[in-house]
């Protein structure tokens, strides 16, 4: 997917020039007003860019010089809006079938698959006004999918929902991508959604791409830190389940290079890949390794200092740990007393109990 678009907005000029892989979920992340929705509206054809081009594979949707600008209804790009936008005068079944072609699906295999995937069976005869917010959004997603789009755009589809509804819907979204092999461009300003869904991540600010890459790389980049609020400064590490504790409800994760991290029990098979968020405030530093029978800390790793960022109140230390990175938040006082230097070898201590279920995600692959 090649995107090269520019559009003058009231506050700034949106300028995007990038390539996005045609599989997986790419999350467009940024503050509100960063130009996220404008970007996907340009891709859908709802807004018109000033110049540039946009194509997926051989298919060109917009090209300023060649005067190509495909109308919205010809683009075959699905769009799930912030609000469900169901048609109030049509039943759920009629809503779902609005963009669906029975000719293309003679045995209605695809139709049944979507109904099942999103568990819509019991809703079919009802009307939008009878549905809860989560149900409505599920119908909206099904409706967009049944159109058989080549690309699915999602504009903060969960932001209008209360937390329990969000948690109910997230697994559906993760499943979608895996089962339908449909590229998804997902706009959000929620870090939890990034963590749960993203394969690729695109950080947008003032209409420009600040960072782009796989989630771990972007999240752990220094430029990303201002977006992770003060108390939210955290690192994403990647690991696979390598052991379950015999006596205690704990799970050990293999982070590579013989480093193991104990976390609260994750009920999944050995070898499952997981993504863990470790808050910088839960990481402390020590120059000498404490004996395991002298400290309550279970996770102690040898590492080296990769970067030092001083702020007014504290110091953020970026640590290299095998092929992962880790951020630690310490006070200025501690920093001065330990006389920490760049590339210095030391030990990071992570409170395993602080990692709970809401902080890990099972990647889709």
């Amino acid at each position: 997917m090649k995107i090269k678009l520019s559009k003058q907005l009231a506050q700034y000029k949106l300028e995007i020039n990038t390539q996005i892989s045609a599989t997986g979920i790419c999350v467009v992340f940024g503050r509100s007003g960063a130009g996220k929705t404008t970007l996907i509206n340009l891709l859908a054809g709802i807004d018109t860019p000033d110049s540039g081009s946009f194509s997926i594979g051989e298919r060109c949707f917009y090209h300023a010089q060649q005067r190509i600008n495909l109308a919205v209804h010809r683009r075959e790009i699905g769009y799930v809006f912030q609000q469900a936008r169901l048609f109030p005068h049509l039943s759920i079944e009629a809503n779902l079938k609005y963009g669906y072609s029975e000719k293309q699906d003679p045995e209605s295999v695809f139709y049944q698959k979507i109904i099942q995937l999103l568990q819509l069976q019991s809703l079919l005869k009802r009307y939008p006004n009878d549905l809860s917010g989560g149900e409505m959004q599920r119908v909206a997603i099904g409706r967009a999918l049944l159109r058989k789009p080549k690309l699915l755009l999602m504009d903060e589809p969960l932001s209008s929902l209360a937390l329990p509804r969000k948690l109910e819907l997230l697994p559906y979204l993760a499943k979608l991508n895996k089962q339908l092999q449909l590229p998804i461009l997902y706009v959000t300003h929620s870090l939890d959604e990034v963590l749960f869904l993203a394969d690729e991540m695109l950080l947008l600010d003032q209409g420009k791409i600040v960072l782009q890459g796989d989630v771990e790389t972007v999240w752990n980049d220094q430029k990303m830190q201002p977006w992770l609020q003060q108390n939210q400064l955290s690192t994403i590490v990647h690991g696979s389940i390598c052991a379950q504790h015999q006596d205690y409800p704990l799970t050990s994760l293999d982070l590579g290079a013989q480093q193991q991290l104990w976390v609260n029990k994750i009920d999944s098979a050995l070898g499952t890949n997981v993504r863990i968020r470790i808050y910088a405030k839960d990481v402390s530093l020590t120059l000498n390794r404490a004996n395991i029978d002298e400290t309550s800390i279970r996770n102690i790793f040898a590492c080296s200092i990769a970067a030092i960022v001083k702020t007014e109140q504290n110091v953020k230390i970026k640590l290299a740990l095998a092929d992962n990175f880790l951020w630690a938040d310490i006070t200025l006082w501690a920093f001065d007393q330990l006389q920490l230097q760049l590339h210095q070898q030391l030990y990071a201590q992570i409170k395993g109990v602080s990692i709970n279920n809401s902080d890990f995600a099972l990647p889709q692959h």
């Binding site: 209804h73 683009r75 790009i77 936008r85 109030p88 409706r143």
Partner: protein, 230 residues
């Protein structure tokens, strides 16, 4: 109970009003859609022209129709020559006069209801592959049915009451163009016919009340049906 004369006036009035409304409805919906959703240079001009009959004295409308559609008029002469249709001094002429006078009321009501349709629904429909034509007939039109209904009733009521343009254009001919208001006018002009005038007056009030109450409850019912609320 009703005299033959009254029945004649009532049925003529209803016939004129029904034709006026049903023939102008498609054009009114199209005009309302243009004014609500269109984006073109001459929009203020179109808006002004549509609303003109609302502010002009009806006698002006009647006079213009007389110039245009009488047997010697530009359009009237053409229609007689090529279509063999003469609408001057006929109930069709009365219907045309009513349609023009009632047109702005109908357009206004429909335009308001189109504007009330959330543009985002139409946008969603187009992302689902519907062309503008399909969007209009499957989304916009069903959602504005209550607005169309109130526009129709308003226009119908205005047509029933049309006097000035009608008497100027098609005159006051018994059995042909003498609708309820014109019949009342004749009675008022005739000494000693006060009682007949009063009867027609009550009939006019009765018809208007039935139309308004009927439209109110129908509109309520339709709104509920469309939104499927209980």
């Amino acid at each position: 109970m009703l005299t033959e004369f009254e029945i004649q006036a009532i049925s003529l009035s209803l016939k004129v009003a029904f034709s006026a409304v049903s023939f102008s409805l498609p054009l009114a919906i199209f005009t309302a859609w243009l004014l609500a959703r269109g984006n073109f240079y001459a929009k203020p001009l179109l808006d002004a022209i549509v609303h003109l009959p609302l502010v002009l004295p009806p006698v002006v409308i009647g006079y213009l129709l007389l110039i245009g559609f009488s047997q010697q008029g530009i359009i009237g002469a053409w229609m007689i020559k090529y279509l063999s249709v003469d609408i001057s001094f006929s109930w069709q002429g009365a219907a045309l006069a009513s349609a023009i006078v009632a047109f702005p009321l109908m357009v206004r009501a429909i335009k308001l209801s189109i504007e009330a349709v959330d543009n985002k629904l139409e946008q969603a429909a187009s992302t689902l592959g519907a062309n503008p034509f399909r969007v209009f007939f499957t989304i916009t039109l069903p959602l504005i049915v209550p607005g169309i209904l109130s526009g129709v009733i308003l226009a119908f009521a205005r047509s029933l009451g049309e006097f000035g343009a009608t008497i100027t254009f098609v005159s006051n001919i018994p059995e042909l163009t003498r609708t309820i208001p014109l019949a009342m006018y004749s009675f008022i002009q005739t000494p000693g016919a006060e009682q007949q005038a009063l009867r027609l007056c009550l009939i006019a009030i009765g018809i208007a009340l039935i139309a308004l109450i009927g439209s109110y409850s129908l509109e309520q019912k339709m709104r509920r049906t469309i939104a499927h609320q209980h």
